[in-house]
């Protein structure tokens, strides 16, 4: 179906080649996952396949791309568009028409199909992606997941032979990812469309793909079976990081030094039982830190204007210093509303919120709030200016120290929006931390981040916690919560259904399932091993000798 042969590409403005001797083959009906760090050349490769990189003024292109037996290396994007469909990360950026029907009909209209045929094909496609009931709805009335399905439908209607998806699930919660991937697999099996997907979240997607290609610095360094990639990655040095989020089972195999590195839970259990002995009881070293109440919510109620039922009917809880609290639950449970109340963006209709014993309204400048779209929080011309933005208390020495902590010293003078996604997030988080807030609120901070960035963020948050900070983090990422949260609050329809130590909640499959959260792989693995319930790789490792 697709054969990329010895492909090189250099942008006109750069000296080095962004793509260096890329070789990639995809067979008809095959599904391939392509992963790699931000800036490794994945997007450039997609552009090359889509015909968006010419050889001339834009840059230098060498090698060949054969699609369905035709050399498309220098073909026009319109021509390639007849064979290849591309779905981008954010559906908002690619939808063009006003209604669902018009959006799907768009490509067929452009190809001069008669109206009657367009109608039949659009309805058929909408049915395949489960949007048939929303045909006449505005695209702006759809949820994020529905918009991504619509973006997929607008491409599928052209019956492409190859479907390219550029991080399509990076902004979805686990339930949304599962729904989208099930749909994609179904389409692949029914229509035989070859799929090339780019994504960092290999830990969540590996079960859907039998083949993975890994890119680093413009070259494909691995292209083969999914189950063999883990051993390959394990041999790589730290500085050769690929940004791939590995499954926890793989991390466990590495940590225990098992003879094989596998992702499949059952196989890992068998391997541990074969190669290691288990401790039935270990002494838990609880390091308790003196905490004090930082934030207190008393009978807080919030109702949106025009709504009859309150989104948050009656909430009471406290947040403490030296503590990371994760807020979890279904979409629409009221998590963002609660964060907005704590961030002072909205005021409760009833009840009281205090910070350090004083009314929250008078303490707003002591709260740091990192919103879900960190790019919209970048306001200055350089990274160092971002840290000092509206922060007169930050000395030059502190700024330098922050840049070091954020691993951004070499980018101090760079334009923040030109940095990679992970670096941009670190800049905003750094700007928040530089103000030394008493309470730090974070809304889905790990969305679309690669493994290395994730580790750096975790490190920053743990460091802030050690200094006495209180963190309230809204996340669907169970792995993140397992790794850093001391406490978990689960919200359902505006009510707290569980509030306890992280381990107690994250080892309770019933609560996790009823709240739309995925069960941590280490939980099922520890149950299968017959050891006490664990949620992190480190905990399981402690029971294995």
């Amino acid at each position: 179906m697709l054969k990329v042969h010895n492909l090189f590409y250099r942008y006109q403005s750069r000296k080095a080649f962004t793509l260096q001797d890329v070789n990639l083959t995809i067979k008809p009906g095959e599904m391939l996952l392509l992963a790699g760090r931000s800036g490794c050349g994945k997007s450039t490769l997609i552009k090359a396949i889509s015909g968006l990189l010419g050889d001339g003024e834009q840059g230098e292109l060498k090698g060949s791309i054969i699609l369905d037996g035709e050399d498309i290396t220098l073909a026009s994007p319109e021509h390639i568009g007849m064979l290849v469909g591309t779905v981008y990360q954010s559906p908002d950026d690619q939808l063009f028409a006003m209604t669902v029907y018009d959006e799907v009909a768009f490509a067929l209209e452009n190809r001069g199909f008669p109206d009657a045929e367009i109608k039949v094909q659009v309805r058929e496609t909408l049915q395949r992606v489960g949007l048939e009931a929303l045909e006449h709805n505005s695209i702006h009335q759809l949820s994020g997941g529905q918009r991504q399905r619509l973006a997929l439908a607008s491409i599928l209607v052209t019956k492409p032979k190859l479907l390219i998806l550029d991080e399509p699930v990076s902004q979805m919660n686990p339930a949304g990812v599962k729904e989208f991937m099930d749909l994609l697999v179904q389409l692949n099996q029914e229509a035989g469309i070859a799929v090339l997907m780019i994504e960092h979240r290999v830990n969540e997607l590996y079960q859907y793909f039998s083949r993975l290609a890994v890119m680093r610095q413009g070259t494909i360094i691995y292209d083969g079976a999914m189950e063999k990639v883990w051993s390959f990655l394990a041999k790589m040095e730290q500085e050769e990081a690929t940004g791939i989020r590995e499954p926890q089972t793989v991390k466990l195999c590495k940590q225990l030094g098992l003879s094989e590195i596998l992702a499949d839970k059952e196989k890992v259990v068998d391997l541990i039982l074969q190669e290691r002995n288990l401790e039935s009881l270990i002494e838990e070293k609880l390091i308790s830190k003196a905490t004090s109440e930082q934030v207190k919510l008393e009978n807080v109620q919030y109702t949106y204007a025009g709504m009859k039922e309150p989104t948050l009917p009656d909430l009471s809880f406290s947040l403490f210093t030296h503590q990371i609290t994760a807020l979890m639950g279904f979409n629409g449970a009221g998590k963002s509303t609660l964060l907005n109340l704590l961030g002072g963006l909205t005021k409760p209709n009833k009840g009281k919120i205090t910070l350090g014993g004083i009314d929250l309204k008078q303490q707003l400048n002591k709260i740091g709030y990192l919103r879900q779209e960190p790019d919209l929080m970048l306001l200055a011309d350089s990274v160092e200016e971002e840290l000092s933005w509206k922060n007169p208390g930050l000395s030059a020495e502190e700024r330098i120290s922050f840049l070091e902590k954020l691993h951004l010293t070499e980018y101090a003078k760079d334009f923040p929006l030109a940095l990679s996604k992970g670096q941009r997030l670190r800049v905003v988080l750094g700007a928040m931390l530089a103000k030394k807030p008493q309470l730090l609120l974070l809304d889905e901070p790990t969305t679309g981040q690669d493994e290395e960035c994730l580790k750096e963020i975790q490190g920053l948050l743990l460091d802030y916690k050690r200094q006495g900070g209180s963190i309230f983090i809204c996340t669907h990422d169970v792995e993140l919560a397992s790794n850093i949260a001391d406490r978990v609050i689960v919200l359902q329809q505006g009510k707290i259904v569980a509030d306890a130590e992280a381990k107690n909640i994250l080892t309770n499959a019933a609560i996790l399932n009823s709240s739309g959260l995925s069960v941590p792989p280490m939980l099922t693995l520890s149950e299968a091993l017959g050891i006490p319930k664990c949620i992190t790789v480190e905990e399981v490792s402690a029971y294995v000798r």
Partner: protein
């Protein structure tokens, strides 16, 4: 109702959605020429009310009427207020004295500040012009699929890339409106003071950069998306020729009317300069009275 839905038009009456982009753009262009040409406040008011009537016929929803009312009132009030204070032409009749020339310090500094009757009228005329175009512009935004306008522009041989750039703004209006709110929130959150956490106005100067950066990225992705879906292909361009006869006839009449009004206005102005043609006296009269 979300901010996004406020700036998109899927809820408009179906007849307005069915009108081709050609017709909508010609109506918009004709109104633009007429509002510039006509000076008579009553005629301008009729033009303005016509745009409002079109909103009624297009079944503009209540929440959009509210937004429209705020924008129109701000535009009219701003224009009348500024002209009332700073009207420089003569004759001018002071209605109120805000700062007397004799007032200590401010008097000699400003030379006196008055509210002029002629300034209010002049401001009303200018305000009606901008309000009419704002009202009609929003109507086009609220009833048009970006594809319609693109097809019209391409039918008139505008380069596809230029046409795309012109129309992308309409597609992004709902998203841009929502993101503006997000950026203001971000600015509030990054403010160092208690007041800054709730103020909106003090943050306005800083909203352009993040919005612009996002827009550039969005526009690039959207362009890639429509290119790969064959928008600039030959068959897509041939589609742009669909323009129903009835609409063509209506547009022809409207263009003719606009040309007649412009020509009569030019002739009237020329007559004032001394080139008077007696046979056109009735046209001069109509022009003087209504235009």
């Amino acid at each position: 109702m979300s901010v996004r839905q406020l700036w998109e038009g899927s809820d408009a009456a179906s007849w307005t959605q069915k009108l081709t982009g050609h017709t909508k753009l010609i109506i918009l262009f004709s109104f633009a020429v007429l509002t510039i040409t006509i000076d008579n406040p009553r005629s301008l008011f009729i033009l303005f009310t016509t745009t409002l009537l079109l909103h009624v016929l297009a079944k503009t929803s209540l929440y959009k009427w509210r937004a429209l009312a705020v924008l129109l009132l701000l535009s009219l009030w701003g224009s009348m207020f500024s002209q009332a204070l700073f009207f420089a032409q003569t004759p001018r009749t002071p209605l109120f004295v805000l700062i007397s020339p004799e007032m200590q310090f401010l008097g000699p500094l400003t030379g006196g500040l008055y509210v002029y009757r002629e300034g209010i009228l002049y401001g009303a005329v200018q305000g009606l012009r901008s309000a009419s175009m704002m009202s009609l512009g929003l109507l086009v935004c609220w009833t048009s699929d970006p594809r319609q306008l693109l097809q019209a522009l391409m039918h008139w041989n505008l380069p596809p890339q230029t046409a795309f750039m012109l129309v992308t703004a309409i597609r992004f209006l709902p998203v841009l409106a929502a993101e503006t709110g997000e950026v203001i929130t971000a600015l509030q959150l990054r403010s160092d003071s208690q007041n800054g956490r709730s103020s909106v106005i003090r943050h306005l100067p800083y909203i352009a950069k993040p919005l612009l950066a996002r827009c550039l990225r969005r526009a690039q992705t959207l362009a890639l998306s429509v290119i790969s879906r064959g928008f600039f292909s030959a068959s897509a361009r041939s589609l742009s020729g669909k323009w129903p006869g009835k609409e063509k006839l209506f547009c022809g009449c409207l263009i003719l009317l606009t040309i007649c009004i412009v020509v009569s206005k030019i002739m009237y102005l020329v007559s004032e300069q001394g080139l008077y043609i007696g046979a056109l006296r009735q046209i001069y009269d109509i022009t003087k009275l209504y235009l």
